[in-house]
């Protein structure tokens, strides 16, 4: 494995790991706050138990997310010093604001986790809300920094020099809103489906039904609302990408030839060498229509870009198909859920629906990972779109592959331990909380 590939793999691994923990860390506090709100309003112990159980999940995920995030802030320099040397001052603003938001989140979490029975109950509840809100703000800021790499703004560039720097313009680059919206909805959908799925499985197994039913409902409503809104945000993002990063869109869609009346490709294996697609299913004119609301819209294909400027088309296209496919499954489940909810209220008796939810448990996070691959691999060969190539930004230090192996081992072990902890938290629900069985 050469150093460049090792550095990219290590970065990809670290982000893929961190993204799960940060999504849960920013979304679960909202579930927790809703359940806590019900407890304060109704005084029912079951909501207190759900809140406490979820808050332990938040604590585990936050602790892991905090260290993997700290690692990332160092890895930017350890792996991409040339990039950071130039980019640091330009896109550092969202990171410095994120530092504040993250700090507030950590403080609020201290109040929340250790504050039971110590403060005014509504103040305690409010600190939980602050955990969620500041987590969400951190997420948005970090995505804004990533968006800048896709849509560089707030500086001028000539002869390898960056000047006329404007950090505020860099932060509010063209991509920040569409990316942040898409990521936030994705975080809600992914975390919601994961949490709802676990509780659904417990109901199916007839364990602590009241506890799991109430918990399921809170998570499922968040998840399904986000999953229904997500295609709208996805549509907005795709139009945005077509406009800003046509090469990325072409790779996402496996489109080699520029043209009008371009069909939408579903499935298919694009081959970058022969510039053809095998086995795909095409909807005539649909891509042109989706981009420009008219089938006569021209869509740029990869043929517009010299070979060294093209992203890896196979990975980008497959990841995009996976993301959209999973998104559609979740959309379907969500519509079904609201329909059942509207038709009759005792939906928890419908075991097939709960089984369906149990099945969707990992789908949201699979879609998040796939989406992240689309945006990162689709930006290649650039680390800073159109300005700096990833291979020119990598550290001069040799032997990065060993660091990659080390990170792989560490992150796999951590994933195993976190899974064990969650399993134990769920298994011990009847013991930890005084629940009538």
């Amino acid at each position: 494995m050469n150093d460049f590939i090792a550095a990219r793999s290590q970065m990809a691994l670290s982000l893929a790991f961190h993204i799960i923990f940060s999504c849960i860390g920013m979304v679960m506090p909202f579930f927790m706050a809703v359940s806590h709100y019900y407890y304060l309003k109704t005084g029912k112990r079951v909501f207190r138990n759900i809140t406490k159980a979820w808050s332990k999940g938040v604590a585990i995920f936050f602790a892991t997310g905090a260290v993997s995030g700290t690692v990332l802030s160092f890895e930017l320099g350890l792996l991409w010093p040339v990039f950071m040397k130039n980019a640091g001052p330009i896109f550092g603003l969202p990171f410095s604001l994120e530092g504040t938001a993250f700090f507030i989140e950590a403080i609020a979490l201290g109040f929340y986790l250790y504050g039971w029975g110590k403060f005014n109950p509504w103040f305690h509840w409010w600190t939980g809300v602050v955990v969620g809100v500041s987590g969400l703000i951190s997420g948005i800021l970090v995505v804004a920094a990533n968006a800048w790499m896709n849509s560089p703004a707030g500086f001028e560039y000539a002869d390898g020099r960056y000047f006329n720097i404007d950090p505020v313009k860099a932060m509010f680059n063209d991509a920040w809103f569409s990316q942040a919206l898409h990521m936030c909805l994705a975080a809600f959908a992914a975390t919601g489906f994961a949490v709802a799925g676990v509780h659904a499985l417990m109901i199916v197994r007839r364990r602590n039904i009241e506890f799991h039913t109430k918990a399921f409902r809170i998570a499922a409503i968040f998840a399904c609302t986000a999953a229904i809104l997500q295609p709208l945000s996805g549509d907005h993002s795709a139009k945005d990408v077509a406009h800003r990063q046509p090469a990325k869109l072409a790779a996402m869609e496996g489109l080699f030839e520029t043209g009008r009346h371009v069909p939408l490709l579903i499935g298919g294996i694009p081959d970058a060498k022969t510039e053809t697609v095998k086995y795909g299913f095409e909807i005539p004119g649909m891509l042109s229509f989706m981009i420009g609301a008219n089938t006569n819209t021209e869509v740029k294909g990869l043929d517009q870009f010299p070979v060294p400027d093209r992203p890896p088309v196979l990975i980008t296209h497959l990841a995009f198909q996976i993301m959209v496919g999973l998104g559609m499954v979740m959309l379907g489940v969500s519509i079904l859920y609201f329909f059942v909810l509207w038709k009759k209220r005792n939906f928890e008796k419908n075991l097939w629906l709960l089984k369906l939810f149990a099945f969707t448990t990992p789908l949201g996070f699979m879609a998040v990972e796939a989406g992240w691959v689309v945006t990162e691999v689709g930006r290649q060969p650039w680390i800073l779109h159109g300005i700096l190539r990833t291979k020119d930004a990598v550290t001069p230090m040799p032997g990065i592959q060993y660091s990659f192996y080390l990170f792989t081992a560490v992150y796999i072990s951590l994933a195993i331990v976190v899974t064990l902890l969650l399993y134990r938290q769920i298994k011990m629900v009847p013991v930890l909380y005084d629940i009538d069985r």
Partner: protein
């Protein structure tokens, strides 16, 4: 504006050393506690440090963000030439942060606790040790940006007696801070006596490793004595640190919990003043008289300006909340 950013950078380093340091130290104390008392120590620790645990480590993130936004050349060259110690330190941070949370939130108490505890204690030692190595290497003149071979560029840059001795010294300082902190948090006189003994032995260890730092500096030709004692600020700061140390020895037995904490904090602050003043504003000293300076090598002015504003706005939110958090849990320690 660059002065505002530098002031925040220094303060964040100080607070990380004091709060994060005490936090590392608690793990170090656990490591050096006899097996019979290990459990008691870890219970006292999670009771007292639990609520502010995550916040203590945020200072490191603030330091890093200031470096890469405000001083990108410094960030890039540190992370290139000190890649390996940074990597080991990061492993320590991962291991420690997760082990601490896991041992508290594992719903089943079994053999896994043994693993969490081991990982937590050893990483509590390793992390500040490498932080010390990194800090020492930055000023020891051993980084050679033109080095060609792997060992010259990426190993010799940080592996030498001076850096290792500073690493040990950092570990002892952390342990000492934690012992002083824990003295005020105990619930029985017997436990309190135990921490007083710990504080004293950590102190002796700190003085011994401090002496080692001077020997190593002489061996590695780092002009440490000239730096520390060659200017009035250095001399004053070192003298103040020594006086404060003496006072702590006298007051430690008299149950002056808050005063000894303040004195310990003051002592460490003075040490940081003495060790940073002599080469300010230079922050990285390469081999052969080359350097990176906070004044000459800061990032674009616009970036510095927005960073300073972000820090000022941030501290309006962070500081009151943090003080209230610490105050609340000092007044009524957590039951969980």
């Amino acid at each position: 504006m660059v002065y505002v950013v530098i002031a925040y950078l220094w303060t964040a380093i100080l607070l990380y050393l004091l709060l994060g340091g005490a936090d590392f130290g608690a793990g170090i104390i656990e490591l050096f506690t006899s097996d019979n008392n290990k459990n008691r120590t870890s219970i006292t620790m999670s009771r007292t440090i639990g609520p502010i645990w995550e916040a203590n480590h945020m200072w490191l993130i603030i330091v890093i963000v200031i470096l890469f936004t405000g001083f990108p050349d410094i960030y890039a060259s540190v992370s290139t030439f000190l890649h390996i110690p940074l990597l080991i330190m990061l492993m320590g941070i991962i291991a420690r942060g997760t082990a601490f949370a896991f041992r508290h939130y594992d719903a089943v108490e079994d053999y896994m606790q043994v693993i969490y505890n081991k990982v937590f204690r050893y990483s509590s030692f390793v992390t500040p040790f490498f932080l010390g190595i990194i800090a020492a290497s930055a000023v020891s003149g051993t980084i050679n940006p033109d080095a060609k071979g792997f060992a010259d560029a990426y190993i010799i840059s940080w592996l030498h007696f001076f850096s290792v001795s500073v690493g040990l010294f950092t570990v002892c300082i952390c342990g000492y801070l934690a012992a002083i902190f824990l003295i005020g948090e105990t619930q029985s006189p017997e436990e309190e006596r135990r921490y007083i003994v710990k504080a004293r032995s950590m102190n002796v260890a700190a003085i011994a490793s401090g002496a080692l730092v001077f020997l190593a500096a002489a061996y590695d030709r780092v002009p440490l004595a000239k730096w520390l004692f060659g200017n009035p600020v250095g001399i004053t700061a070192i003298a103040a640190a020594l006086i404060s140390l003496l006072l702590q020895w006298i007051l430690i037995r008299k149950g002056k919990r808050i005063i000894i904490r303040l004195l310990a904090g003051f002592q460490v602050t003075m040490l940081l003043v003495a060790t940073t003043f002599f080469h300010y504003p230079k922050i990285i000293l390469f081999s052969g008289e080359r350097y990176l300076s906070l004044m000459e090598h800061h990032g674009d002015d616009k970036a510095i300006e927005s960073l300073a504003l972000a820090l000022l706005i941030g501290s309006v939110f962070i500081l009151p909340a943090l003080f209230y958090l610490i105050y609340s849990f000092q007044k009524k320690p957590s039951a969980e």
